[in-house]
Amino acid sequence: MKLRFLTLLASLMPMAAFADETPTLNSGDTAWMLVATAFVMLMTPAGLALFYGGMTRSKNVLNTMGMSLIAFAVGTLVWVIAGYSIAFGDGDLMGHGKLLLAGITHETIKGSIPELLFVAFQGTFAAIAVAIASGSMIERVKFSTFTIFVALWVLAVYAPITHWAWGGGSTLNFGEMDFAGGTVVHINAGVAGFVVAMMLGRRKDYGKAAIKPFSPALTVLGAALLWFGWFGFNAGSEVAADGLAGNAFLITNVAAALGVIGWLVAEWIVYKTPTLIGGASGAVAGLVAITPASGSADTMGAIIIGLVGGIVGFIGVAKIKKLFSVDDSLDAFWVHGLVGIWGSIATALFIAPYLKADDFALGGQLVAQIKAILLTIVYSGIMTAIVFFISSIVTSGGRVDEETEQIGLDEKVHGEKVINL
């Protein structure tokens, strides 16, 4: 998010708008943010639902997609009720004062756009964060447990972390650079997924039976929609249609492309088999990596960040994951958490010369990045465990029974089949 972020960079024209005493609406900026919000919305019930659904076994595809859908629905609801207030209300450790968007009308301006639009934009971030985490829990978590979890997690985990990074809190803000949510969204969601995967335990046949993805074609389509939506995510985080948004757009695209290349080349070297799920995952890894840097890197930086992002993602999933016994089913931690950490570090390393503040100090910035990463890991790790524990209690256990797991959640929980030929 620009507001916080820019203080780290050389002064930029559009800052003027934010500094202005009586902010006025800019129709070009508003036009862009209307679209950017729609783009990010699409990422959850379409992009992620397909990306994840395509990698799930055919007996659980609908349940996996359903988690993205319900994450967006419930996430949106709790966001407007209290999440936005916690994240962007006044206060240091926690915001307040905007419950149910109190006091905001269609004429309230934030920066140069309507604040209600800003509410909607930020709400799509909350929803996708928890939906990303669902990838670690598939094929065994109860639908009811996950639904409760969504509500609690957005309020207790996502909103506070957002408040510290972007919302005005100062004690827990270390001056880290996180333009579009590398720490706030990706590391946070990856850690949350990992913790829940540990608590849930492994799928009965994990590591035993071959787990065949329903359809890599859906995964590719999902990744393409995520890529598309990510332009709203990253370039939209500028909250204006200006030169920095253009920069963010281009480098987002470049990093995604290099993520594809990085993952496929790694696969090709290791297995001689470049897979489509690999290409799709590489795109997402490249995008995760560039997210915090999308307001500050240049093209050359994006090439490196994306390429390494793709390779790190592959190594995480194909090698490091095996050292752990945790069944992080769709690799939310490896693709979002681990790669997110790379992205956050890289943000300090690869700043465009034309965007670097004169007094920029690499050492100090690296410390800030690491502090923010650690805070996120610790806070998200502990609080996620607590809210998932509560969610399980409320629904008498967070895991479906064995028969349901065996036969599939689509049939047993939803009474449906992903495809009837």
Binding site: A210, I211, K212, E267, Y271, T275, K321, K322
Partner: protein, 113 residues
């Protein structure tokens, strides 16, 4: 009457069908099956995980013929058309059918074929 069941490689279906029709066999029923045998399945990748596909796609052809002579004709035709010489070419099983009825006309046995 005899029933011939042949398990063949999928891409050989067209050739086998042509060979059978040429040999005068004009009816058959085919289905998709998976075979387990000496032929090793290829391995597939799923992100980091590699797994061997043990069941290999095959096609099963079922033909019911009225006489042993026809059975031999069919077996020969299949044998020739389905053979690649590589492991996994498949098998032919012959068994006995007691009775056949053509639903449309009610014709029975040899006449029904």
């Amino acid at each position: 009457m005899k029933k011939i069941e042949a398990i063949i490689k999928p891409f050989k279906l067209e050739d086998v069908k042509d060979a059978l029709v040429e040999a005068g066999i004009e009816g058959m029923t085919v289905s998709e099956v998976k075979g387990y045998g000496r032929q090793q399945g290829h391995s597939e990748l799923y992100r980091g995980a590699e797994y061997v596909v043990e069941f290999i796609p095959k096609i099963k052809i079922e033909i019911v013929v009225s006489t042993d002579e026809y059975a031999n004709i069919a077996i020969n035709a299949i044998n020739k058309a389905a053979k690649t010489g590589k492991i996994g070419d498949g098998k032919i099983f012959v068994s006995t059918i007691d009775h056949v009825i053509r639903i449309r006309t009610g014709e029975e046995d040899a006449e029904a074929l």
